[in-house]
Symmetry: D3
Subunit: 250 residues, 6 copies
């Protein structure tokens, strides 16, 4: 048993408070254990310069942490005057992931801005951001479809993300909290669709390396976790899930 | 009656959720109507270079808004690579205000970082930040006094802030929401102690100017609002309020 | 008597050298005792993007100090690569103040740039900047009205600024020099029109707080100082003052 | 057959010109087809502040492209004043990869700077950088061991990287050139040791997703490619390879 | 005799590898002894905003060094977030020099970007950059004339640059390597056309000053060196040299 | 005769108002016709990190223009967040020039900061800055020698600078005003000591080139101008000039 009593293949308690904020078209406060992220989706009626005139849309993501989301206060990136490499890496990952399940041709010339702001961090903030961003995106798109801005349902499939690690004591474990993450020798982030297809696979063994066998075990745990996350997403978005199911059936 | 049914001298509903986050020494989620700000206080065991070796402490404040705290999404200051003039003005105001009621000599060589992050904005974010920051500061100081880091209680008085405006229809009104703020001709922010002493007074009449008589009426409303805010602060910090009362008595 | 022999309600010697520079449309070297600021007003035949197509004008101000305007050399903001919070605060204040007495609708789509460059600092640089900026602005506007660019006189009233402080020895004193400013417990900057209406009121009590009674005494001194400053402005702009008087009469 | 006549599991022609530059401790010009990268390793006799006093070393990597390494000229990051997200991602990847095969405890308090400068780009610049960086690193370490600075051989294993893609016409293909990369639906970068252990796995399906079966085929191709790359590395470093083999045997 | 056996009026061995890279319109790797610079010329089908609508072209130059081009590794300007004064000075010099022999009216509204990237530095990198840039420029222009983009041959004359120094032991010496440059009291860079006309003359005596007589001797050496450099340029550009000769004849 | 009635070898009227500002150790307002520059010299009791522990001093220069020193307002470098290449070039030139006549070994471990702020520009601002900077430096050094900080007189010779140009109508002309500078084909800045030795020579022929004969005529005019400038400097510094003369005699 893990330090917080979980099984190796057990997620932390998940909570999705939808439409958490009053201004954004879509928003959710996602909690994965003590990790809490406010995800919002904002629709802007134009695309960036490099996309203009193509009749299609764009989606972009930004990620940040409150200075005291972490155990030690971290300096604001606005004070430093630049965004760190870690932040850039994460927001590029979120953006790419969302683009894989969104049909940009059906958006029209508009941009969806997804903002993931971590208000409390306890490991797995980037995967929680992706899982929450999918919900915020879906709610924003639903509103735009309802009011006729977006003509045809553009979300092709579910999307969720989870971390898996290899740790000296328990081997492969699902959904690492901060303490486990700090102890892990291998860290894998898996982004998957509702059809069990990979969207992103990012595995790192800075302290150690990992074998093909370990990789297989890691991916088994990831698939198991993704299934449960999508189950929660369906509950959170309610009837909207039918539109995704319809799209998938073609 | 005002658009949301309030009297001219009526505050919006106030809520103070103390210790809202798990990592910071002190934290509160303050809601003034739809304006919501997470205020945290973090204690660092050193002072900035210009203060070293004097045996006294320092307090500094930072302020930010989530991109979608506002009706239209605003660009992140970290993406722009610089902090706007408005943000600088506000965080300097928060810092100065807190320094007026904190005895830096009693802190020892440590810095208190106060972070005010607006997650939803509906007018009065800078005054809500000050009112909330006082609560977060008090909770962090209480903890540091309890565990013996700070030897003697250093908070001299209560501190709260409120906005008053002059608006064409209702004249002087207390605690403006966003719609009222946009319509106001004069905008005054008042920071006061529990002893009804002014700490900061910032009044602006960009569209119009204001007379000495109007100023007096504005200050009457401000004193009335500050009293109620401090009443809520006392309830939120509970028994700790006795330490402040003791300090005031000398 | 104060350290330089002044009464508590006495300004320092004022000098306004108009059209001090050859290139700007309007310029003045203002001296308030040893504080010397070059103020210029430049007219640009377009407005910033957010103002285009509205048929009205804009005015914006910038403030800076030569590195050796101060007793200790200060690092250039251009070398640091960013403008400090203090500078931003001051240039926003100057801009807002000037906008209160200028009818932007009558400017046409043009921008007036006001630059205040402190070449020698001895306290009160922001208030001297505002008092001087009004003169530079008036001279530039006069020229633009004469050559037909601006069709109708757009300056609504006089505008001047002064500091008042509370100091342990003399209590409330007018127009603080640097040494007095460093010793003051309360610092109030007052911007007023020729009609004794407030435009900006910025009072700070970082070391101490101040009562309503002290505020009243501060404002009395400020009104007294503003009257004399406007008297000097009238002498400096000469016959142009009639146009302002005519506008005020309606 | 692929556009340049290669089999799906065939690498482009590889060339490793060792000690290409006169100043660096280790250097190599790596060519993978038309992709050419100058990799250098520089040894600095100190570690960054966060590492001081631990008696161990550090390795860090930087990556850049000449403006006209690409078909269209790209703007210099020094002119833009900031490093792009893509560059940060790549240099973090190179650094992490090298740290996996280097025993930092054996370096002593010194930093190895690895610089990868792409002078001509035709796809796969990040994987060529890693493969080349290993060679430059080994040569620099060899020199430092010879002259007694580093006491004990610290490189634990070989390290190489290769890209594999999924492309509509040929399915899974090894070592994509630029044209293939632009057409690929899935892009996987694999970093592996000489012992067939994974160090990094980064797979992205922006346009499409990929199944577990495709992943297995991708990894088979990657292992095949890595074997050949390490074969070339051994030839390039010559007798030094014995020291790595010795370390591996323990 | 100098440390590397050269006479005081002798250049280092020169090599010009033309079309060294596959993507740029014109490119050359110039070696002056151990100083090696990749020079490229890229043609962009538009001019910067300040040049638009005038029917003429523009040429601009950028200069950089690989971090380990030097004996000690230098920090990347992209990491520092700004370009140093030295780099700015050099790239402005290269640009001005090239503009002196290029008829911008004949380019049409296009920009030629010249990039000089030093991969190995041993003194004289700015003069080698100019000499190489002329070759890259000529090759790019030749291509644009051939494919009809540029209608009429626009290069007016040859252009080369060389350094001359005054050194305690040997007095005036031509084409200083790094060790000589470090020891020199006077450093002169001379840019000249094929007609022996000066384009730029930049002489500095930081440690010492120099007399009019020394200047004359310096310029004699410079003319001698420029003649030989242009001889090498002619060999490198081959038949294209006839077009320059034709232009010169009128 | 030139447009302002001068002979080709005639300087504009020169004025040197010494100790123009109250705070700096040395200061002067130099006017060369309508070009006006405030030059100050500030002494700091430490050297930059790269100079520490060598027992010698350093001198560094900064240059800037007020936004409306020019006919069209120029954007502040502090607003742009970076210093332009032109400014860097000029301040490096001023610094190098002053270092040539100052014996850094005699300064002790202190830095002299020279600031040249152009308040009105009409051509020749960089040469006026150097000529004025020499005066400010001398006055600051005199004060430091008098109060015993600097033990031995460290200024070795006089230093002045002047521009010479080649213009279509009048050929070679001395000390160009802005209109002449804009029309000139060749622009030469000459920095010389009181002993007629060159310190810096910077000649540029962007529009045209220049011959060896023209260069000789240019240098004749420069020497003539420098003589007169040094004559004015002597008058401005008064008795201090004897110390320089004594140093020169050895």
């Amino acid at each position: 048993m893990r330090q917080d009593g979980r099984q190796v293949n057990e997620l932390r308690p998940i909570q999705l408070d939808t439409q958490y904020l009053k201004h954004p078209e879509g928003s959710v406060l996602i909690s994965m254990g003590d990790t809490k992220v406010i995800c919002t989706a904002s629709i802007e009626e134009r695309v960036p310069p490099f996309m203009r005139g193509q009749g299609k849309g764009w989606i972009t993501a930004e990620y940040s942490m409150l200075p005291r989301a972490t155990e030690q206060r971290t300096i604001r990136e606005s004070s430093k005057g630049k965004v760190t490499g870690r932040t850039m890496e994460i927001q590029r990952l979120i953006g790419r992931s969302l683009r894989s399940i969104l049909d940009l041709d059906l958006l029209g010339e508009r941009t969806i801005w997804v903002d993931c702001d971590v208000i409390q961090a306890d490991g797995g903030t980037r995967t929680a951001s992706i899982t929450g961003a999918f919900v915020a995106l879906t709610l924003a798109v639903e509103k735009a479809v309802e009011n006729g801005k977006i003509k045809k349902w553009p979300i092709k499939d579910y999307l969720a993300a989870v971390s898996v690690g290899v740790e000296p004591t328990h081997g492969e474990i699902l959904d690492l909290c901060y303490v486990e993450d700090a102890a892990a020798e291998v860290d894998m982030n898996v982004v998957m669709t509702g059809s069990h297809e990979f969207v992103e696979l990012q595995g790192t063994g800075e302290e150690a390396t990992f074998s093909r066998e370990q990789l297989n075990q890691i991916l088994n745990l990831a698939e198991h976790g993704i299934d449960q996350l999508i189950h929660h997403q369906k509950a959170a978005i309610g009837a909207v899930s039918e539109k995704i199911d319809t799209y998938k059936k073609g």
